[in-house]
């Protein structure tokens, strides 16, 4: 197709863009544009990162000294329970749904999600269950305090006898969060299956789309059993049934099966999109095609499948029979294979690449480094004898946070910096970003690396007071935690100031290859509108000198002139 200088398609009236100063109000409304919803998710969840972080710092403040002196041990139980719940259900799940909203339609060339109103409703459930959860701080008897996994019989205690208590509100909030996630998952999967740009076969999709699809599949299969278990727990707590009450003939271990059948795969729901972010960013900043694209893509669903059959490794020390332990030890270790495929693919991508060490790349490299470490301790924990020794100690806490913050958290920050110019239309400040990275990486390492030693020496988790022999590891950990708190200052400064008055972002500041980079920054409503590009090549063609889509110059020029 020949393109004249005055292509009539360019002369269309520009659409109002989200993020433009005159329409900030749409972020506070029931807007159905996926890009607005994405930013709503991300900003809301970053607020709750601060809330959860504040709770974490009180927990670490308590653990600075061996005796329980900062807060009462009962309050302490509520604090770590709420810290875990807020971080998972109000920070990580929503922020990744934010990425899904921003990236799925733009990366596959769709105008919006398949069900825009369902999408908005799913988002607006977040403030609803956030209010329920935060409200439980004011419930009689305080918030839920049986840990984020809410094992009975601890979670069935209701000493004050009120119908509405902290645990009741907790279950309600988790159930609402589940409904919101299912609504999101149905939407994301339908969009990916049905709304890809012409020519974009499954093996031409970016890896982020593969991982988002794999992760949302886990949500669809795993969340219903958790909801079922939560309903039964609620009945036990409030309506006198005895599904999980041993005194009524019930089985408390059954709840653990329901819980971990979802909550182990839930970690993969969180980490898979971060694998997607790594797979998107390494090729851009190493200027090389992604090594082993098809293997990385298929490995995502390998992880989905395996994640469904490993849950009982959380129960090695809660009375599972020996045959079950062996099977689950084996399946758990198998997960190292598809994840190993991905790690080697990233290393292969980085190998002899032309690395550009800006903030997103630094966060990615830091996240990858930490993930390899977390993977090694993960295989350790999968081993039955080691798990029985260190289960329920600070070692598990350290391993978990190495996955959930040091890998997923860092990956999320990498994604935020990388796509910030695309969706706000502004460049962030590189210096502040690097300060944020250095503080985060050192703080995170200092926070959780020493806790491995404390755990190996036998320090139990979820205690307000501990033996003085563990003091040194805990002091180091607390310093790291406070450093992470400080790290949020350059981040907030950077985000707020650059969004308000940062330099204008070009459409493709990183010279990245992908449909989203063929759109103006920020993309207009309905993305490509009526001119959806036809994909003709596989993604990640860095250095290969081939176009991604038919008629690429037209889209590049249009994105610059918008």
């Amino acid at each position: 197709m020949t393109i004249t200088n005055y292509d009539p398609r360019i002369l269309k009236a520009p659409h109002p863009v989200p993020g433009a100063p005159d329409n900030w109000k749409r972020f506070f409304s029931f807007n159905t544009d996926a890009k607005v919803i994405g930013i709503q998710y991300i900003v809301t969840s970053l607020f709750f990162l601060l809330v959860g972080g504040l709770l974490a710092m009180i927990v670490r403040g308590e653990l600075l000294t061996p005796p329980a002196d900062l807060v009462d041990p009962t309050v302490y139980n509520g604090l770590y329970t709420m810290h875990g719940t807020v971080m998972l259900f109000l920070f990580l799940f929503p922020i990744l749904n934010g990425f899904n909203n921003l990236l799925i339609p733009t990366m596959i060339g769709a105008p919006d999600m398949a069900f825009p109103r369902l999408n908005a409703a799913a988002f607006w459930l977040v403030p609803v269950f956030a209010t329920v959860l935060m409200g439980s701080f004011f419930a009689p008897g305080g918030p839920a305090s049986s840990g984020w996994w809410s094992y009975p019989p601890m979670s069935l205690q209701n000493p004050l006898g009120h119908f509405i208590n902290g645990q009741f509100l907790w279950i309600l909030a988790v159930a609402l969060s589940g409904i919101s996630s299912i609504m999101g998952a149905v939407n994301f999967v339908t969009t990916i299956i049905r709304m890809r740009a012409p020519g974009m076969g499954f093996f031409k999709m970016p890896i982020f789309i593969w991982t988002a699809w794999a992760a949302q599949t886990i949500q669809l299969i795993g969340l219903p059993p958790l909801t079922g278990g939560a309903v039964m727990l609620l009945f036990d707590l409030s309506f006198g049934t005895s599904f999980f009450r041993p005194e009524g003939g019930g089985d408390p271990v059954l709840f653990q099966h329901f819980f971990w059948f979802y909550s182990h795969p839930a970690v993969y729901v969180l980490v898979l999109p971060v694998f997607g972010i790594f797979s998107e960013l390494f090729p851009v900043y190493a200027r090389k095609p992604l090594f082993g694209y098809k293997f990385v893509a298929i490995a995502s669903f390998g992880i989905t499948f395996l994640s469904m059959i490993v849950w009982a490794h959380h129960m090695f020390y809660t009375g599972t029979p020996n045959w079950m332990r062996h099977i689950f030890m084996f399946t758990t270790m198998l997960i190292a294979v598809p994840t190993g495929v991905k790690v080697f693919a990233w290393l292969g991508t980085l190998w002899r690449g032309n690395l550009r060490l800006n903030t997103p790349m630094l966060f990615c490299l830091g996240g990858l480094f930490n993930f390899i470490f977390a993977g090694i301790t993960g295989v350790m924990l999968a081993t039955v004898p080691i798990d029985i020794h260190v289960g329920n100690t600070a070692f598990v806490v350290a391993h978990f946070h190495y996955v959930i913050f040091n890998t997923i958290g860092l990956g999320v920050f990498a994604g935020i910096y990388h796509w910030f110019p695309k969706f706000t239309g502004r460049m962030y400040y590189e210096g502040l970003g690097k300060v944020h990275f250095v503080l985060t990486f050192i703080g995170a390492t200092l926070n959780w690396l020493p806790l491995h030693w404390a755990g190996l020496l036998g320090m139990p988790r979820r205690v307000a007071s501990y033996d003085p022999e563990f003091a040194i590891w805990n002091v180091l950990g607390s310093i790291g935690a406070f450093m992470l708190g400080v790290a949020s200052i350059p981040f907030i400064l950077n985000m707020v100031s650059s969004w308000a008055r940062g330099p204008q972002a070009p459409p493709n500041p990183w010279r990245a290859i992908g449909l989203e980079w063929l759109l103006p920054s920020p993309p207009p409503a309905e993305n490509f509108q009526d001119d959806i590009p036809t994909v003709i090549n596989e993604p990640y063609g860095y250095g290969l000198g081939r176009p991604l889509v038919e008629d690429e110059e037209f889209y590049v020029r249009r994105s610059q002139e918008a």
């Binding site: 919006d112 069900f115 909801t227 019930g250 059954l254 959806i532 008629d551």
Partner: protein, 198 residues
């Protein structure tokens, strides 16, 4: 322009792209997910039945099967009736569709009534041990789905009077019908689990 699906352009309204196919895909994905919650309840039922030290509450020696069996036959055959209604709609015989559809609703309502009668005659309650809880939880959760199905059918019946309702396909009726088959299949499993396996 290249690559635009003509249907999409046809239904194009500002802000939304409407497409019947999306709705069906989304609905099937939702039903797959919904079936897992029943599977979880069934698995929990089986595990507790096999391991509980005392399964039936004191003074209860099993469930009566005759009435629930009649109920099951009515519910399961209503699935075929719903399919018949769909065929009438395909043939654009609207009044016949409405009549057969209404018959499906009546059969669903009869099932709910039968369930209510059975519940009110039972000698155990929600808090009577593990069995009592599971019985009411499973039948109640399924009953909620039946009620939802009947209400959705009512909505479809009302909509059938709207002129031009089926110009863009019969997605609403098709998916409610699919939901109804789903509810029936779940009931067959539930009946086998609770009433047959005693």
């Amino acid at each position: 322009m290249t690559g635009i699906n003509p249907d999409v352009q046809l239904n194009h309204t500002p802000g939304h792209v409407k497409h019947d196919g999306h709705n069906m895909t989304g609905f099937v994905i939702f039903l797959c997910s919904e079936s897992v919650i029943f599977l979880a309840f069934f698995a929990g039922y089986a595990v507790l039945k096999l391991t509980a030290p005392q399964w039936l509450p004191d003074g209860v020696d099993g469930l009566e099967v005759r009435m629930p069996l009649i109920n099951s036959v009515v519910l399961v055959s209503s699935s075929f009736v719903a399919y018949g209604a769909e065929l009438c709609l395909h043939a654009r015989k609207l009044w016949r569709f409405r009549a057969v559809w209404l018959l499906t609703m009546a059969m669903g309502s009869y099932f709910i009534y039968g369930q209510y009668v059975e519940w009110s005659e039972l000698s155990f309650s929600l808090s009577s041990g593990v069995f009592g809880g599971l019985f009411y939880l499973l039948t109640g959760f399924h009953g909620l789905h039946v009620i939802t199905g009947v209400l959705l059918m009512g909505l479809m019946l009302v909509r059938s009077f709207k002129p031009g309702n089926y110009d863009n396909g019969e997605m609403g009726v098709a998916s409610v019908s699919l939901f109804w088959h789903f509810v029936d299949v779940i009931w067959i499993l539930l009946f086998l689990l609770i009433y047959v396996w005693q």
